[in-house]
Each structure stands twice: as C-alpha cells, then as structure tokens.
C-alpha cells in the first residue's frame, strides 16, 4: 500500500479551443506524482503548473470524483476510463502507471458526442434518448402504497444491476460503431424488470431506439467492447433483453 513517487511523466493530450476549431496533441511533462494520487489529481497538478506558466489549462469534465455522477470521461492510453477495470477516470489511481511513461489522453470520440473544448464533449444526445421514453408515466401523488405490489428479490436485483448505469458514455467511446445500445438497454432493462415499468415497456423500447438511431449513434454488431469498458459492469445481456422487448413491440404493432 505504501505510495511511491513517479518522478516524471509525459502527458500527451488533445487540445481543442472550441467546437469549431481543429484540435491537435500537445505534450507536457509533469514531475513528482504520488502513486496514491488519483488520475484527476494528477490533472489538477498539471493544470496548476500550466496556469503558473501562463498556458491555458486543459478542460476536462468531472464532478463527484467518486465514480457515481458519470461526469468524467477521458480516453486514456486507448481505453475509456483508462487502464483499470470497473472504475471511472476519477477513480483511476496513478499506481496504474510507471515512472517515465507517456500517457495519451483523448476525449470520447463519437459523432454523437462533439467536442466542446479539449477533453470536454457534448453528451446531450443521451439526454434526448432518455427523454424519448426512459421513465414511468406517473405524476407526483396518488400512487399505491410501496408494499402493495411485491417484487421478487431477483427481479429487483436485476433491475438494480441495470439501473447502476451512470450515463458516462464510455460504452459509446469504446465501440467502433459508436453504438449506444448498452446505455439504452440498461434503461430499458432497469424499468422492464419491475412491474411499475413493465406497463410501458413496449413503447419505451421502440421510442428510445428510434431516437438513438436518429441522433447518429451506430448499430450494434456484438463486439462486446462496451461491456468490457463499462465502469459499472453493465452486462450485454441487457442488449439481448432490449432486442426482445423491441421485437415484441414491433410484432404487436
């Protein structure tokens, strides 16, 4: 557990002034980083260095820094959320890197996620997909007692497995087709597994998939790259369930 010091690292990072300008890689050197620091703490230190040198700091998205808000989104050494499994970028620690290493950092790359600045991308396409049907149509008030409808523990647990999605977009970034199927299927499964969500399962699947296609995400060709890189271990079993729900809905029309 004892922390070591990484004496020097080279950071090769994507710089892009805004959505309209062309980007390029820049390389910076950073020294004396503790292996106990998180990746984003390393980025903070680098940025404060840059500010003191009069260089514009690197913009990146982050907020909770504990792997739950889904804001952070870096593509590090060719992997979304970097070289560790089941973690987000903000949970990645510097002990995963070696002294003297060059670390390459890019934004999520997908047509549906245009770059806003440097490493910050626009994920509002995810919002639109969820607005297309990722909810149960109940208003506040006038609902039955919470224990009125028993739900088998197994269903509740499976629903929870899918509901754990944090909407980060790593699945899209990992996929060569930039497909959003894992994300969409996670929402569809979360709700379809519960009696409360089942009522609208058909229309939900149909409209969310239609929205996804409309927004420029690619199709799913079962490469499983999404599942491998998802920080929350969302299973591609959900995609199979989505396909079933979708088919059912098509047939019943």
């Amino acid at each position: 557990m004892a922390d070591k010091i990484l004496k020097q690292l080279k950071i090769k990072v994507w710089r892009q002034k805004n959505a309209k300008s062309k980007g390029r890689f820049e390389t910076y050197t950073i020294e004396n980083i503790s292996t106990g620091s998180s990746f984003l703490e390393m980025m903070d230190i680098l940025n404060n260095d840059l500010i003191e040198k009069g260089i514009d700091p690197i913009a990146f998205d982050h907020d909770c820094r504990e792997g739950i808000c889904g804001t952070c989104s870096l593509y590090i050494n060719g992997r979304p959320h970097g070289p560790d499994t089941e973690v987000t970028t903000c949970q990645l620690h510097m002990r995963k890197f070696k002294d003297g290493e060059t670390i390459i950092i890019e934004p999520w790359r997908a047509r549906a996620f245009p770059v806003i600045k440097d490493l910050v991308v626009d994920r509002s396409a995810f919002e639109k997909i969820l607005q297309a049907g990722g909810f149960v149509s109940v208003n506040t008030g006038g609902v039955p007692d919470a224990n009125a409808i028993p739900v088998s523990r197994e269903d509740a647990e499976e629903s929870m497995d899918a509901a754990a999605c944090i909407g980060c977009g790593a699945c899209v970034a990992a996929c060569k087709n930039s497909s959003a199927m894992l994300f969409v299927s996670a929402k569809v499964s979360h709700l379809a597994k519960l009696p409360q969500g089942k009522v609208e399962a058909d229309t939900r699947a149909m409209s969310m998939v239609a929205k996804m296609d409309e927004l420029g995400f690619g199709g799913c060709t079962n490469t499983r790259a999404c599942e491998a890189e998802c920080p929350k271990s969302i299973s591609i079993m959900n995609i199979a369930r989505l396909n079933r729900e979708y088919l059912k809905a098509r047939l019943s029309r």
């Binding site: 557990m1 002034k17 805004n18 106990g36 620091s37 998180s38 703490e41 903070d44 404060n48 500010i51 003191e52 260089i55 700091p57 913009a59 982050h62 907020d63 909770c64 820094r65 504990e66 792997g67 739950i68 808000c69 889904g70 804001t71 089941e86 949970q91 620690h93 002990r95 806003i116 600045k117 994920r123 509002s124 919002e127 969820l130 607005q131 297309a132 909810f135 149960v136 149509s137 109940v138 208003n139 506040t140 008030g141 609902v143 039955p144 919470a146 224990n147 028993p150 088998s152 523990r153 509740a156 647990e157 629903s159 929870m160 509901a163 909407g167 709700l191 519960l194 409360q196 969500g197």
Partner: protein, 646 residues
C-alpha cells in the same frame, strides 16, 4: 419581537400541516399555465420540485451547472432514506421519526417543520417505488430496511450502496418526462450568478452559459433555489468538486437571511486525508457502522508502531483493542450519531492513538461480522463500498480493517425559510440542503434525501401556490426591466474584475488556504480565540485573492477556472460568516462544539437558556458587519434534555 414571521400554523402539532394545506390558496389549472417558475438546481430537491410543478401545470425553467440534471451531487448519497413506514413492526411512527430528528438535531430545529417532514415521509417511498426505484427487497418481495446511526428502529430504505443515485434517477426520469412534454425548459451547463428582485419580489435570475460564456437573463413569477450545500468552503470535503454556496450567497446579498451557517456536519467515516495532493475526500457510508466495529489500539506503543508501519492491525490482539465507542456509549455503541462519533475519533487521535502515518485515522473492522454472518452477507450489503475502498487505498477491507477519519459532509445551516419554504425575499424559495430548515444542529443519517424529496414532491408544490395565487394578474416578467439590466451589469463587472486581476496564483491556492483555516478554527472543535483569528485571517486571504488570483483562458468560452474563482470568492465570504456565527453561539450543540461549553467528561453541553434560537444573518452591504436576528424556537411537544447515547 423578532421581524421574522415563520408562519407556523396554530393548533396541535399533528394537525398543523393538514390545517395549513386547507387554509392556503390554490391556483386554478388555467392560471397555472400563465405562471412561470425558475428552479435552480436539479438534485433531489430541485428535480422533484421542477417535475412536480410542471405536472401541476406551471411553466418551469430548470438550471444546473453539470451537463445533465442526473449528475447533481445527490447522486453520491450511498446509505439510504428514512421514512416512518413502520414496515418492520418495530413500533416506528411519525412521532418517533419526528422525535429522533428533533433530538438528533440537538433541539435547534422547528418542531412544526420537522413533524411535517416525518408526516410526508411515507409518501416519498410510495412515489419512488411507483417511478421504478429498485429498492432493496426481502425474499418475500416486500421492501427491506436497515438501521442508521442515532436511532433504535429500522426505517431506512436503500438501493444497495447507491440510494441517492437511484432516487435521483427516479426524480430525473420524472423531470425528463416533463422536458419531453415541453413543460420544463432545461438549461444544463448554466450557472446562476444572481437573483433579480423587482419591487421587492424575486422575479428572475442572471445565469452564465458555461459553454459560450454568455450572460443571460431569465424571468419568472417565482424563483426556487435548490443548489445544495456549502461544505466545499473547507476545500476538502465529501461534496462534489463543483458544489458551491454561491447561489445561496447571492440570495443573501439580495436580502434573504442566512441561518445557522456555523452548523456543518462532520461525517465520521471518510477515507483519511493522505499527502497534500488530494482534491476531495471520499465518504464510506455510515451504514458500514451497522456491521463494522470502530477501534484504536489500547496501548500507545502499538499505535506508534502502526504509525511507523512496523505492524499491521491484524497483529493486535482483540484484548489490546480499544472499541472506544462501545466503551463510552454502551447503549448505542458504534451507532452513536455522527457528531458524537466524529469527536470521539478526534479525541483518540489527538491523544496519540491514531493508526496511520499522519496519526489521523481509526479502524473500522469487519472481521467480527464476517465471522458472525459470513463473507457473502457482507458482500451483499457493502460489496460496492468495499470495492471503492480498495480502488482508492489499495487495501482489501475483507482482510484488513478500513481506516477512517471524520470529514466535512453536510451543511445544516443555509437560507432561512418560513413554514412555506419561502425566504425573507417574497417569491424566493429555498429547498433541500440549501435551506436551514429541518436538521437543527446535526442531521441524522438518511434524512437529507428524505428532506430533499419531501420539499420537492410534497411541500413546495402546495405552499408555492399560496404565493402564486396572488400573482395571476402579474404579466410575464420583462427581462429588459432596469433591475435585470443592473443585475446583469453587476455580474459582468464582477467577472471582469476577477478576470482582470491577472495575478500570479491559481484559484486552488487560495481555496486550500481558506480550507486550512476553516478546518483548524471552524472545524470539529471551536473556541472564541480561534474563531476571531479565523475572521482576521480570512480577511487577509480575501485581500490577497482579489490582488493576486490568476484566471487563464477567455471569458467567452468554457472556462472552469473562472467558474471556480467565482465560487471561491463567495466561499471566502461564507467562511467569514460561519466563523461569526460560531463565535456568537457560545454553546455546544450538535455538530457545533465550543470548547468553552463542555462537561467534565468532554461531552458537548448545550445552553438552552441563552441559545434556543435560530440565528438569522442579514446582509448590510460590502465591508459592513452583518446584523444578527434571532428566531426563538418554541418546544411544545418535546422536553429538552441533554442528549445522551450512553
């Protein structure tokens, strides 16, 4: 006689809310369509309010600084949400939840508000289940509960270690449904920088589009602020990096009183600070104290060896372990409230028994419960928390105890509101963690989520009608009115002033400095001398900040350093007010511990004769001393006793 009217309804406690609801005004559906409401913040408070108001027919504009409402910091809540359902048949009731909350808050909250909170709590669970929140369940298919610090019943509902996430997703889904319908206009990546008051009423806000840098005006008939807590004034806290007190602070500057700012909660179970490169602290859910036992070595020499890394925790025999919470508080043991657990950890570490290199950590050990219940049960209960701990510390908590230490977690203090959740500015409301309302001097675990959703789903949608009913003839707010022009100019001027300092140090430099002062003098233990010192030192940092901060980049582009600078400028002011408030309150209560007011055994001593009030600070202008008003607290249904968890 105080100038504050809390509008607490007359009559017996249990009937107040029902009576109030039937007495307040209601707006007709046709009129609701003409009325606009701005909701700033989309955490549990803001998202539930925005969705519910839109369902009722109001036209809503909602704002958050993240790229999606789903990322509000409510998402990070782990442990659970309380509700007086009595599903466990353990004799829980609305009154018991009310009583626990009042007592847990060390008798510094309003009876009527807290009772209403307990009263609507069961509805929250019903609502969440209907939305598809996958709460933990028993094998029979019914909802499961766990117990939480400071209480003797099991009333906490949970969704694994991700309760906040699931509740927020529920509210976010409801919000998305209204966005899709066009009844909520959602402004992501927008930061509120001022509230606009016209003829004494809140009529809109000024916000910065964080992507384009544009300063924009938004008008409405009422403004609801749900922007969360100000714990980041300490630099290191369990809050998200962007959590801030700025929106509430702007309200304060426009006439909303700020209450009990010195009441902040220090959470006992966080991963200890290490080194000086750290940016934030990670909470380990309080629920862990259900099955973990807290200890430090009995012998000083063992502690010293642990600090030097010569031995590990498992080298210390059971009889050489001091389970100090069980020793000092036999009836509550490891489940004492947060403030008590935090101070007890500090006491042991200050006495030299800390267990990490810095001497600022204690153990939380699962060995005993793994022996008793088996590893599988522990994994099912806390698997994701254990994984998180291991990723951060590189230590396996199944094999070695966790190391924990207290950290800043929650702000009980906040904007003063009356029973209707309205601030001292008509038409300006404050809900969720941003207000001071329900937790007194200390919040019980799993009660913030309850309060956020109570405010947003079941209280504000009713009480705001009472105000808006008188606004149905008010036309759409004109954002070209002089008040908007002026407010926009003030915002632009301040941003330019900050930007043009062009000094030499990054914002973090000042934020860290402020954090150290706050932690040392306005932290877990406070005294008059230290508080006075803090006030002086903050002034010095403020001066330095405005002379020497460097903000790179452009004004008309995404500029995170500029955002941070604005927030830190406000934290400097908030920190000073916290110190003033702590200085005024020369008693120990809840999270606020004044060394001058302690028993011989070092336990907190309240002073009900002098301090049974809510402090309410009024802004008097830049560089002027704020004025303290007091709302006296009246207890008709509970007897004030010194809290005892022995």
């Amino acid at each position: 006689m105080s100038i504050l009217d809390s509008k607490i309804p007359q009559g017996p406690l249990a009937e107040k809310w029902t009576k109030h609801k039937s007495a307040i005004k209601v707006v007709s559906p046709a009129n609701k369509r003409k009325l606009e409401v701005i909701v700033v913040g989309t955490g549990l408070g803001g998202a539930s309010a925005a969705a519910s108001l839109a369902e009722l027919g109001y036209k809503v504009k909602a704002f958050c600084y993240q790229d999606s409402p789903r990322r509000a910091h409510s998402i990070a809540a782990q442990g659970g949400i309380n509700a007086a359902k009595n599903y466990q048949n353990d004799n829980d009731s609305v009154f018991r939840l009310f009583y626990d909350t009042i007592k847990g808050g060390d008798y510094r909250a309003r009876e009527a508000n807290v009772y209403r909170l307990a009263e609507v709590s069961p509805n929250i669970i019903d609502q969440c289940v209907a939305q598809g929140v996958p709460f933990g369940r028993e094998y029979g298919g019914l909802l499961d509960n766990r117990s939480f610090g400071g209480v003797l019943v099991s009333r906490t509902f949970y969704a694994r270690g991700q309760t906040g996430q699931q509740l927020l997703i529920g509210a976010y889904q409801a919000l998305n449904r209204q966005i899709a319908k066009g009844s909520v206009e959602m402004y992501n990546r927008h930061e509120m920088l001022d509230v606009v008051v016209v003829d004494g009423k809140a009529r809109g806000i000024i916000a910065r589009d964080l992507v384009s840098g544009k300063i924009k005006r938004f008008g409405a008939h009422a403004v609801v602020v749900a922007t969360g807590g100000y714990g980041n004034v300490f630099f290191l806290s369990t809050n998200a990096m962007g959590s801030n007190g700025s929106a509430a602070w702007q309200c304060y500057k426009k006439g909303a009183f700020m209450s009990n700012p010195c009441f902040v909660q220090i959470h006992p179970t966080c991963i200890p600070v290490h080194g000086d490169q750290q940016s934030k602290l990670t909470l380990m859910s309080e629920s862990l104290r259900n099955d973990g036992r807290v200890w430090v070595p009995k012998k000083k020499e063992d502690a010293v060896k642990l600090q030097k890394g010569e031995i590990g925790p498992n080298d210390i025999a059971d009889e050489d372990r001091d389970f100090y919470l069980e020793r000092r508080y036999p009836s509550y043991g490891n489940l004492v409230p947060r403030d008590v657990a935090s101070r007890a950890a500090k006491e042991r570490c200050d006495a030299g028994f800390g267990v990490n290199a810095e001497g600022k950590a204690v153990f939380l050990d699962f060995k005993y419960s793994i022996e008793r219940l088996g590893k599988d049960v522990i994994t099912a209960r806390y698997g994701n928390l254990f994984q998180m701990y291991e990723k951060i510390t590189d230590t396996d908590p199944y094999k070695e105890p966790m190391m924990i230490y207290p950290a800043i977690h929650y702000s009980m203090g906040g904007t003063w509101v009356d029973y209707n959740l309205m601030t001292t500015v008509p038409g300006l409301y404050s809900i969720g963690e941003a207000n001071f309302s329900d937790h007194g001097a200390n919040r019980l675990g799993a009660s913030a989520l309850m309060q956020g959703l109570a405010d947003g789903y079941f209280v504000l949608p009713y009480t705001i009608g009472d105000y808006l009913a008188d606004e149905i003839m008010t036309p759409k707010t004109d954002v070209n009115a002089p008040e908007f022009v002026e407010a926009e100019k003030a915002v632009t001027d301040r941003i330019e002033k900050l930007f043009n300092v062009k000094g030499s140090k990054p914002v973090d430099y000042f934020h860290k400095k402020l954090g150290h002062i706050m932690w040392d003098y306005v932290g877990m233990s406070r005294n008059a001398e230290g508080l006075k010192k803090a006030i002086e030192e903050i002034k010095v940092i403020r001066e330095e900040f405005w002379k020497d901060v460097r903000i790179p980049g452009e004004l008309d582009n995404l500029n995170p350093e500029l955002e941070k600078a604005g927030r830190v400028a406000d934290f400097l002011d908030i920190g000073e007010l916290m110190a003033r408030d702590a200085l005024d309150r020369n008693e120990s209560c809840g999270g606020h511990f004044r060394e001058e007011s302690a028993t011989e055994e070092g336990e907190a001593k309240r002073n009900d004769e002098q301090f049974t009030y809510v402090s309410c600070w009024e802004y008097k202008g830049e560089g002027q001393e704020p004025v303290l008003h007091k709302e006296d607290l009246v207890f008709e249904n509970v007897k004030l006793t010194q809290r005892s968890y022995k």
